[in-house]
């Protein structure tokens, strides 16, 4: 039976972020969270592969206890079982530490044929977890997959790169990061959401994975955040009005020329 692991992240919902206008600091404490968009594409792809020959889809996340909400969403989309790796000592882990935690979890979960990740998380967009995890597990990696198929023991993927579209093959087990163009994630039905509550979420703490504190959190991180500030935005927001299209267009044109934005 084909076994697919999908790594998901409960990311900050960037569309709901608030800024302290005096300091330009972002209000991150209690910021609303949601499942990272590209991870939904990864889940959808895994579930599509499952629908064909029949496979098992497991989903795993490293996060705080309330990341359970994200896992329930993944289960509602069609994952069979979820793993929440959570421990206060994991807080403030960078990608080096987080990929370590994930690798230990994957090793404990056991065998797998495919690991799917989003190309990057929607909040930090650094695209590192997939590659780092593949390195820790010593398996082939295919990034930026916009199309994917599994036949027997071979994965074929189409990668979208800047200068070309590359078709690659690799023997399982393989880790693949997917772009949002790979599919349209499903919206779970009411029935699927209800069924999700009956599926199992396994919770593991640091001690369950034999993870020492010096390898995680700030102590285990190679990168540290000094500050997070909103960029300065001072836009004029002047609405150009007029009696008809021609008038509006002329007003806009004149304004842009007068302000020196357009020069002759």
């Amino acid at each position: 039976m084909v076994r697919i692991l999908v790594c998901v992240k409960q990311a900050i919902d960037v569309s709901q972020l608030k800024v302290d206008s005096a300091t330009r600091r972002l209000i991150l404490v209690d910021a609303p969270r949601k499942i990272s968009d590209f991870d939904k594409n990864a889940l959808e792809e895994a579930i599509r592969i499952k629908e064909k020959p029949g496979a098992e889809v497991l989903t795993v996340t490293v996060g705080p206890e309330d990341a359970k909400t994200t896992l329930r969403e993944a289960l509602a989309m069609g994952a069979d079982k979820a793993y929440l790796i959570s421990d206060p000592i994991f807080e403030n882990s960078d990608t080096l530490a987080t990929s370590y935690i994930l690798a230990e979890a994957v090793k404990k979960i056991g065998s797998f044929d495919l690991i799917l990740c989003g190309e990057a998380s929607v909040d930090s967009f650094s695209a590192q977890i997939g590659p780092r995890l593949a390195e820790r597990l010593g398996i082939p990696l295919i990034t930026y997959a916009r199309k994917l198929s599994l036949e027997g023991d071979t994965v074929t993927a189409e990668r979208s790169l800047e200068d070309c579209s590359e078709t690659v093959k690799a023997k399982i087990p393989v880790l693949i990061t997917v772009t949002k163009e790979i599919n349209e994630p499903r919206t779970p039905s009411y029935m699927a959401i209800m069924t999700a509550f009956k599926k199992e979420i396994v919770m593991w703490k640091a001690v369950d994975l034999n993870i020492p504190s010096e390898k995680v959190g700030e102590a285990g991180s190679a990168v540290q955040v000094l500050d997070v500030l909103a960029p300065k935005v001072e836009r004029k927001k002047i609405v150009i009005k007029g009696e008809n299209t021609a008038e509006v267009a002329e007003k806009l044109a004149k304004t842009l020329i007068q302000e020196g934005i357009i020069t002759r």
Binding site: V14, S15, L26, L96, A120, D123, S124, F125, S126, Q128, P131, R132, A134, E135, R136, P140, L141, I142, Y144, S160, L161, E162, D163, C164, E166, T167, V168, K169, A170, T179, K180, E181, S221, A222, V223, Q224, V225, L226, V228, L229, A230, V233, R235, K236, K237, I238, V239, I240, T245, A246, V248, A249, E250, L252, A253, L256, E259, I261, I262, R264
Partner: protein, 315 residues
Amino acid sequence: MYSESKDLMLELIGEGSELASKLQTQLTAVVLGHDVKDQAKELIGYGAQKVIVVDHPQLKEFHAEPCLSALTQLTKQHKPELLLMGSTKRGKELAARLAGRLNAGCIPDCLELKVDEQGRLLVGRMVYGGNAIVTQIFRAKPQIVTIPGRKFERLEYREERKGEVVNISDIQTEAPRTEIVEVKPKEVVETRIEEAEVVVGGGRGLEKKEDFKILDELAQILGGQVGYTRPLAEDRKWFTEWVGLSGHTIKPKLYIACGISGVIQHVAGIRDSKTIVAINKDSEAPIMDMADYIVIGDLYEIVPALSQALRKLLA
């Protein structure tokens, strides 16, 4: 420094030399390839103080694992403080994996690199869909950073520059773990949109690809270029490139957004534009918060009218 893209490599040298002097360390460029010994001279001409050329048949075409093993060995041997790599998709993947192998940190897509009074490297990059700039430091070495194209300038080529060249051909390379079966080149756009002073952007408000001719017209009158949003490239497949977070970042003097709602990912690519004009039917569209001048209307009427008005006034 390493990038598989030559243009990026030269920009890395440009930025690298400034940092090297601030951090009081040497600037070394790495070339990985086969039959590439003559590339060293060019890189020195552009400012590299030292060039390590790794020449091996397995490095002839770009494959991640052979490059990775070469870079890992070089890094372990030479122990650089800072590793600059190009922010292409291949480069970012390589940088993250290299950091993994070296138990190091990696900060991708840097906007800003500064050295503070304590001699620490401060790295700034955009996060939260372009809503914030995070400043970070490294707690370990090597410090691995990826730099996007056109963020920094290359130095002037000077024939007289001198540098050390080290040639290596007997390196252990790791075999690729994936097989490249087919490569379909993408149509490369002639002039880089990042260089345009004026950009006219089109988004989902455009119904047909042919309708772009009204934007082409406006762009031509203004001596600018036309840009596209991601859905028009990746979903509708009208184009191969786009302006936005995971595409091109531009900062023209003037950006005219036509039929673009202004989702965060697109705004992240245009936020540094000097002046932004938004033309959209929807007065509630997010782009309205980012614009200096707003026209609520149908782009199919406004854009041609604007072209006409400008033609008259600029004549």
